[in-house]
Amino acid sequence: MILAKDISHFYGKEQVLHDLNIEIKQGEFVFLSGESGSGKSTLLSILSTLLQPTQGNLTLNGIPSTQINNLDAFRQNNIGFVFQFHYLINYLNIYENIALAALPSRQASIHALLDELEILHLAKRYPNEISGGQRQRVALARALINEPAIIFADEPTGSLDSKNTQLVYELLNRCMHKGTTLVVASHDMKVQDYATQTLRMLDGKLL
């Protein structure tokens, strides 16, 4: 499903990733662990096509990422993101934030998804009118709306209390059981309980 070969990345002259080789199969729950600055977020961004690696090759569903004609459309059809800081658009309400990401065929499913995540009552509110936990659930809803084949999550529980953290993991776990591939970067070792593969990073290298 995802094959990363000899991936290296530089920010200016500083090398942050060193010749990484990763293979992730469909339906796996991959836990990307490591200290801050170890390169987890950069690797996640490269695997999810948000960032072009300086060196190396990335293959998604058997197609090299450089040969994907329309990366934007590919992302919308195949990939869901949960960002550490939610990154909801503040001038759009919750419903509109999700509708922005939804494919035309999935627009009708927004209410059902919000209901499933117990945030339907927030549909008309704006991101700055809801709590951090609620925002994270909205971000999750946005990632799930197109039923993507792969979900990438960067510290999805970083700003959540234990109750909301548990809820997020259970939701992600449910996705995995439906066949969705999950790649989660986190400091939280509890993720390991759900993961089928753990990749530990240190100074831009896989241990």
């Binding site: 961004s45 948000l50 960032l51 072009q52 329309n70 934007d72 459309a73 590919f74 992302r75 919308q76 059809n77 990939i79 993101f81 960002f83 800081f85 990154y87 658009i89 922005l100 990401a101 946005r142």
Partner: protein, 317 residues
């Protein structure tokens, strides 16, 4: 202002030949009977245009006109002036009191008040041309001739020119185009307005560029969610268009309001005037929209080419 006066009332203008500035022109008024006798001449009138202290007002326009041109000034009060009398413009009359007024070094009786379609004329004084002649020591500044048939104008210019070797005869249209003062005013206005316009446009472009740059994070999120570059550019295009058109509409209304106020400001005595033609308004609209779109779309296009993650990081920084 001169051009407006001249354009309004005649087809041919006669001034003195070989002078540096028409303000000092001196044409023999005795030419008028000969001109009026020419075939295809409808009428003619002479005028002296000068400036002088009037009462306590340091400077005001003085219009010495031949009797057949008095009707150009619409009476509001009183009657047209006889010898030794003056008619005060509406604006000027509000600043003067009494039944007589000193113009230059002579005192004149006030015969009434007039209004005019030409704003600045309302800040001046109308008197018989003979009195103005004594005041400014000349016969007439110019003679204006109106013709019966416009097709005969060129021929008449030649005929009138042959009447006196000391006169310069032109169609009023040519006169206005060639008059140096008009050229200087026109060119100066063009340079000043172009500079102001260009600076304004630079401002618009800078603001739009800043707005787009401030929204990099949002564009990064959209790209990460799978929205295409075209989608982002379209959004910016529509938003820019709405903002620019709203700003333009507001500026247009404000400009028209200010322009309508100018002739009524007493202090300016009608000398400061302005108009906004449809073509100018459309030109400004087009240029404004183009510059705003350039200012917005260029950084948006650059942003749309950047990796979504870098955009998000740049926007968050």
């Amino acid at each position: 202002m001169y051009s407006k006066m001249i354009k309004t009332d005649g087809d041919i203008i006669i001034t003195q030949k070989g002078i540096a500035d028409n303000f000092f022109s001196n044409v023999n008024i005795d030419l008028m009977p000969q001109i009026n006798a020419l075939k295809n001449v409808n009428s003619s009138y002479a005028m002296i245009v000068g400036a002088s202290p009037v009462g306590h007002i340091p400077i005001a326009g003085i219009y010495g006109v031949s009797e057949n041109h008095f009707s150009h000034y619409k009476l509001l009060k009183g009657r047209y002036p006889k010898k030794g009398e003056v008619l005060l413009g509406r604006t000027l009359s509000k600043q003067l009191k009494g039944r007589s007024v000193k113009v230059g070094n002579r005192r004149f009786k006030i015969s009434g008040t007039y209004t005019s379609n030409i704003g600045f004329e309302e800040g001046g004084v109308v008197m018989p041309i003979s009195d103005a002649g004594k005041l400014f020591s000349r016969s007439a500044s110019y003679i204006l001739v109106s013709v019966k048939q416009p097709s005969t104008t060129t021929k008449l210019v030649k005929t009138i020119s042959s009447l006196d070797p000391d006169i310069k005869v032109k169609t009023t249209q040519t006169f206005v185009q060639e008059y140096n003062q008009f050229k200087i005013i026109k060119n100066s206005s063009l340079v000043i307005s172009s500079l102001a316009f260009f600076m304004g446009l630079m401002g618009i472009a800078s603001v739009m560029s800043m707005i787009v740059n401030a929204r990099k994070e949002e564009f990064g999120i959209m790209r990460a969610l799978g929205k295409s570059r075209v989608f982002i550019m379209q959004n910016i295009f529509v938003e820019t268009l709405i903002m620019t058109l709203s700003a333009y509409l507001f500026a247009l209304i404000l400009s028209l309001f200010i322009l309508s106020l100018l002739p009524h400001i007493q202090m300016l005595q009608g000398y400061v005037n302005g108009s906004l033609s449809l073509s100018t308004a459309l030109y400004v609209l087009l240029a404004t929209v183009l510059m705003a779109l350039m200012g917005a779309l260029l950084p948006a296009w650059i942003a749309s080419k950047t990796d979504p993650l870098l955009l998000i990081n740049q926007g968050s920084a």
